[in-house]
């Protein structure tokens, strides 16, 4: 076992690299259950992000190599690739990736200046601009596509046989009219995947492993993931009056982007709250909004919108969650006049 470091990594590049390494278990699990399309997404989004980064830096007359080397663009590309449907066509991936970098990051001044999470901005933009593509091209984990099918989907000729609604979507649509017992007869539940009931759980578990490693390495703190997952679980459990209509807590936590977002999306330090207490509140806010949008909103998954909304609340959170400075009787609150 590697000794737990005393401090977070000593260089921005190592921070980004650690997050990328922590994504690997999740990438492997996703590739196993959702096919080679996951890797195609990554292989497209990352170069697109790097190219967009380089062009933007060039246009802004900034030195290019130090910023490309810090791996932040690679990470943004990877995160957006893993957020997109696995049977997404190439143009969607490129659009999502480049708009993340250009609109989400460089428009505000590049690394460290983005007010919102770049990957989620790109994702939300695609969800609004291409809703059909973004909601129907999710691979059904029961029929993992082969290389040829994945390649055709990548070129834009998706195959209805391998795609379908996500689990969260099913609960909003088909399962709505079924009782809990009837819903549990769905093949997604009856056909076990390596002992667990459906593929999503393995993916969530893999991301959890990577995320815990990040906490161990002090790249992230426990506040964000605990804040999101506990809030989501508590809110879902509280409103779970009627098991026949409500989406189960377990599904809320594992089927969507829950675990992935808790460890890899909400933990973006730039657009998130900055104090440990602030991170907790930020994550709690995302948790509540996620539940509300998933339950009452138009979209089956809601992390992206919840994150973006909470990003805008970050300055306020930061103003009210400062730690108490040694030697002062209470913590400083508020923005301090002009800002």
């Amino acid at each position: 076992m590697i000794k737990r470091p005393d401090y977070p990594p000593a260089d921005t590049q190592i921070v980004m690299r650690s997050v990328l390494i922590a994504l690997i278990p999740g990438i492997i699990a996703m590739t196993l259950f959702f096919g080679i399309g996951v890797l195609l997404n990554l292989a497209t989004a990352i170069p697109a992000a790097l190219a967009a980064e380089a062009v933007c830096l060039g246009l802004r007359r900034r030195s290019i190599s130090p910023r490309l080397n810090d791996l932040s663009a690679v990470l943004t590309g990877a995160l957006i690739a893993l957020s997109l449907p696995q049977a997404a066509p190439w143009w969607l991936i490129i659009l999502a990736s480049t708009s993340s970098i250009v609109l989400g990051k460089h428009l505000y001044g590049g690394l460290g200046q983005n007010p919102v999470n770049p990957a989620m901005l790109g994702y939300a933009l695609m969800l609004i601009s291409a809703p059909i593509t973004m909601t129907t091209l999710w691979v059904d984990p029961l029929v993992t596509p082969d290389l040829a099918t994945a390649w055709l989907a990548y070129l834009g000729q998706s195959n209805d046989a391998v795609t379908g609604a996500t689990m969260l979507d099913l609960y909003r649509t088909e399962f709505r009219v079924l009782t809990a017992a009837e819903a549990s007869q769905n093949p997604l539940f009856t056909q076990a995947h390596l002992g667990l009931i459906y593929g999503y759980e393995w993916v969530a578990l893999a991301y959890l492993v990577g995320g815990l490693w990040l906490i161990y390495q002090r790249v992230i703190t426990w506040h964000t993931p605990v804040g999101l997952l506990v809030t989501l679980a508590v809110v879902c459990a509280f409103f779970n009056f009627d098991p026949d209509t409500a989406t189960p807590v377990w599904i809320h936590l594992t089927a969507g982007a829950g675990i992935f977002a808790a460890f890899f999306i909400l933990t973006d330090p730039v657009s998130g709250a900055t104090s440990p207490k602030g991170r907790l509140w930020f994550a709690i806010g995302v948790g509540i909004l996620t539940y509300l949008i998933r339950t009452y909103g138009l979209y089956p998954d809601a992390i992206a919108f919840a994150v973006l909304l909470m990003n805008f609340a970050v300055p306020m959170i930061d103003h009210y969650t400062r730690p108490r400075i040694m030697g002062r009787s209470s913590s400083i609150r508020g923005s301090g006049g002009q800002s």
């Binding site: 005393d6 401090y7 977070p8 990594p9 000593a10 260089d11 921005t12 190592i14 921070v15 130090p66 910023r67 810090d70 932040s72 590049g110 690394l111 460290g112 200046q113 330090p269 730039v270 998130g272 900055t274 104090s275 440990p276 930061d318 400062r322 730690p323 108490r324 400075i325 040694m326 030697g327 002062r328 009787s329 400083i332 923005s335 301090g336 006049g337 002009q338 800002s339």
Partner: protein, 489 residues
């Protein structure tokens, strides 16, 4: 034998870092005088104790101990060797601003002529001791250079000897505690007795077993009535910061904007107390222990150095050619500042010369990771303060707590973007103090102006009243005269 106990500190420093200490580099069992340099430099305004004035003129002969500078605070600085004042001119000084300032240059003549004070004989009162500290030029030798006598309030309960020496590379205090233990203990006892302090705490990091042993044996020989409470601290930076040491040893949080003394605690560096002990015997501060260290020096060591010795002389004393170094850090890797002009002389607050080559990685933008906040020992959020300062908003940085920063630079050590946070804060704090001072002056001026307006108004009103009274009187008199005339008519 003095009553004492040794205990491990039960509190944990919040934040802080475990830097590599590099203390073995300069640690030696003995500590010798360096050869006298060819010239000694004494900055008139920057020797510690505030701006001063020269008490000598060019051509004067001075002895070791002759007062040469008197500061606003009263502190007197003396010539550290006998010799002749050859020049009073603008000269390079050891100061973070790296500017030149009026300095007295003395050429030592190698004689042992001394001009000391009369020894004080116990019992003496606190005021006598304060005067002695002023005459002998006693100020904080740990680095801050605060005039010691100002800390000696009546009614103080505790004296803390700050033997933590948490700054990496530094071994000057460690060396002093080992070779000059008796003086330190005696100074502490004298001070405590004259101020009626019952408890003396010695805060010492657990990486100094030899110093601890020396203190123990010195205490066994001491006949003091004081109780010595030796507190072993974890070797964690910055446990030697005054406020943190007070908290670690006593559990008292010194409130923002006030000094430890206002919480009834005096904190002194071991060297200051040893110097006080000698001052009681009549000897003002003429020398101090300086750590010469760093990988770029051939012979790192601790030496006893006359105040005013040029840096280049000390680099040579460490068997190194001064020309081979581009700059040297005064005061250690964390809180030190660079000096490039090696003709500058060391002052009473110069505890270390650090020569090493460091590669500073290029700075990249802040990603708000908050690593700095996790190590900040006063629980500031450096990421927020530097954001405000870089944006030019000093007020916002102050709102975030800039004045509470102790400039320990722990944030610098962990920043993954290699932002020189502490330098920003040092500059920002300086500007904030400047601004506060300006505001204070402006407020005073406004008060004066308003008082003047009120006074003028009052005078005008009084005049008006007098005039009205006079008019009334005249009118009265006229009326009376008229009446009289009418009656007579």
């Amino acid at each position: 034998m003095a009553d004492y106990q040794i205990r491990r500190c039960e509190r944990q420093l919040e934040g802080g870092i475990y830097p590599e200490t590099h203390k073995a580099l300069s640690t030696t069992d003995s500590c010798v005088f360096v050869d006298d340099p060819k010239r000694l430099v004494f900055p008139i305004h920057f020797s510690g104790g505030g701006p001063g004035e020269a008490l000598v003129a060019v051509g004067d002969t001075v002895f070791q101990g002759t007062p040469i500078i008197k500061c606003q605070s009263g502190i007197t600085h003396v010539a550290s060797r006998s010799g002749k004042v050859i020049e009073i001119t603008d000269h390079a000084i050891t100061h973070p601003s790296a500017t030149k300032s009026a300095s007295i240059i003395i050429e030592p003549n190698g004689l042992k002529d001394q001009d000391y004070l009369d020894p004080l004989v116990w019992p003496f009162d606190a005021d006598t001791l304060r005067n002695r500290a002023i005459e002998a030029g006693i100020l904080g030798l740990g680095g801050a250079g605060f005039p010691s006598f100002k800390k000696w309030s009546d009614g103080t309960q505790t004296l803390i000897i700050n033997g933590a020496e948490c700054e990496p590379y530094l071994t000057a205090d460690d060396t002093l505690m080992r070779v000059d233990t008796h003086s330190m203990i005696r100074g502490a006892c004298m001070l405590s007795q004259s101020l009626d302090i019952k408890t003396i705490i010695i805060g010492i990091e657990d990486n100094k077993p030899e110093a601890l042993e020396a203190i123990e044996s010195a205490l066994k020989e001491s006949r003091s009535d004081c109780f010595f409470d030796i507190v072993l601290l974890d070797t964690k930076y910055p446990s030697g910061s005054e406020r943190h040491l007070v908290w670690l040893t006593l559990g008292i949080e010194v409130p923002t904007g006030s000094r430890a003394i206002e919480s009834g605690v005096i904190v002194h560096n071991p060297g200051t107390l040893a110097a006080l002990s000698r001052a009681i015997d009549g000897k003002p501060i003429t020398d101090r222990i300086v750590t010469l260290t760093g990988e770029a020096l051939t012979a790192p060591q601790n030496v006893i150095v006359p105040i005013g010795t040029p840096i280049s002389h000390l680099i040579e004393a460490a068997d190194t050619n001064p020309d081979s170094l581009a700059s040297i850090a005064i005061g250690g890797p964390m809180m030190g500042y660079p000096v490039t002009d090696f003709t500058a002389g060391i002052t009473k607050t110069t505890n270390c010369l650090l020569a090493r080559e460091i590669e500073v990685p290029p700075e990249s933008p802040c990603i708000r990771c908050g690593a700095c906040a996790t190590v900040c020992p006063v629980r500031l959020q450096p990421q927020q303060m530097v954001f405000a300062l870089k944006g030019g908003s000093l007020d916002r940085a102050v709102h975030e707590g800039l004045i509470d920063c102790i400039e320990c630079a722990a944030c610098n050590a962990v920043c993954p973007s290699h932002i020189p946070l502490a330098e920003w804060f040092r500059l920002g704090r300086f500007e904030a103090r400047d601004k506060a001072n300006d505001q204070h002056l402006a407020a005073e001026a406004r008060e004066r102006f308003e008082a003047r307006n009120l006074r003028l108004e009052r005078i005008a009103l009084e005049k008006e009243a007098k005039r009205a009274a006079r008019q009334a009187k005249t009118a009265d008199a006229l009326e009376k005269a008229r009446k009289a005339r009418k009656e007579s008519a």
